[in-house]
Symmetry: C2
Subunit: 228 residues, 2 copies
């Protein structure tokens, strides 16, 4: 009830009026060769819902989006990218013009060490694929010289809150949104979500709801923490 | 012109009336853990276009489809699957009720040797992923006891015709459709295609056209080879 009122207030007052919000969304795709890639089940729905909520709260909003099948929300600029390195580059370019950065994309942790220029032919029964770590986009943003309010996401399948708080501290984030993707009804590719928003000295659980309602709740929490 | 006339004849006469056609379409996804997978850029458009053309020629048509964003064509049953092993199982189940099998799906050649039940945590800078070979669906169908007219696809980036003819012979197929996916204007995820149809003692190049026109041309060639 308090949350709902706070959320309503945010949108009545245009709580993010004059703020510039950059949101990453969707999966990244890491090429193995011209036709194959490694990716994940992120649909981009949560990131796009956050973009809609940010725009509704008055923010100038940009989504840096991996490959998804979603229309661009109204009043939101969409910058399409493919790989984690593409996404980092787009974020770095956007950063000087950004007050709030929300890293909602499910960025691939690893990419193939070598990208083949020709389609790899079927060969032996077993092969070993060398993978190297991708850049950590949200940590890079949090550590940059630009004073940006940085929000991460932690999609986990176990010990969700514990992992999320560790990530908040380790990466120097201002806020993190934790959700349990082992629950089929929420998270990746579903219509609903149920998250806990954590910051240095507090946390709040947002009840299960449609992704646009959850997004509005997260945007409200960001506005509250920005100007306590 | 001759091709166009042959194609038109096929559809006027319901050339596949009474035939049961099973078509695989789209990519497969091979899980690494609950959220990550290996896949490829197949959109499923060619397979779905073939299903429409087969249904238009009078065939009872089933598509066994990997994850795509396409509506089910009219008068076509769609069986959704995810991995190559799922797809093989669905094909084996469909085979006793099948006269013509068209393997249009871009089946992953390899899958992760181990599927983790929990999301893999980011760890060392470099990791090695063990991959094992997936079943060869079209070869399994061609080698089965059911007398099915079997059509394969060869999506290649180099020496396309040469590879395709090798595949036709090695896998014991009745026909193979070769296309050059290194050309960005055709093949994976594009609206057009340009293919060469090969069989034991002949081949025919179908000119670049929309995927539904190319699909009709392929279905016409199948009908011609079935009943010469």
């Amino acid at each position: 009830e308090v949350i709902a009122r706070a959320a309503a207030d945010m949108f009545e007052t245009g709580a993010l009026q004059g703020k510039r919000v950059v949101i990453t969304a969707g999966p990244t795709r890491e090429a193995l060769d011209p036709v194959r890639y490694i990716s994940n089940h992120s649909s981009g729905k949560m990131g796009y819902a956050l973009a809609e909520a940010a725009a509704a709260a008055g923010a100038q909003t940009t989504v840096i989006s991996g490959p998804v099948n979603l229309p661009a929300p109204e009043r939101v600029s969409v910058v399409p990218v493919t790989s984690a390195r593409d996404m980092l580059e787009a974020c770095e370019q956007a950063l000087p013009e950004c007050d709030i950065f929300i890293a909602c994309a499910a960025v691939a942790d690893y990419r193939p060490a070598d990208v083949q220029t020709q389609k790899i032919k079927k060969g032996p029964d077993e092969v070993h694929l060398a993978l190297v770590k991708n850049p950590d986009i949200v940590a890079a943003v949090a550590a940059s010289d630009h004073p940006v309010f940085t929000v991460g996401f932690a999609a986990e399948t176990q010990q969700v809150i514990e992992y999320a708080r560790g990530k908040l501290e380790r990466k120097g984030l201002d806020m993190i949104v934790a959700n349990d993707v082992s629950d089929q009804g929420i998270g990746f590719n579903s219509e609903e979500n149920e998250v806990t928003v954590l910051w240095a000295d507090g946390e709040i659980a947002l009840p299960r709801a449609g992704k646009s309602t959850v997004a509005a709740g997260i945007i409200a929490q960001i506005a509250l923490r920005l100007s306590p």
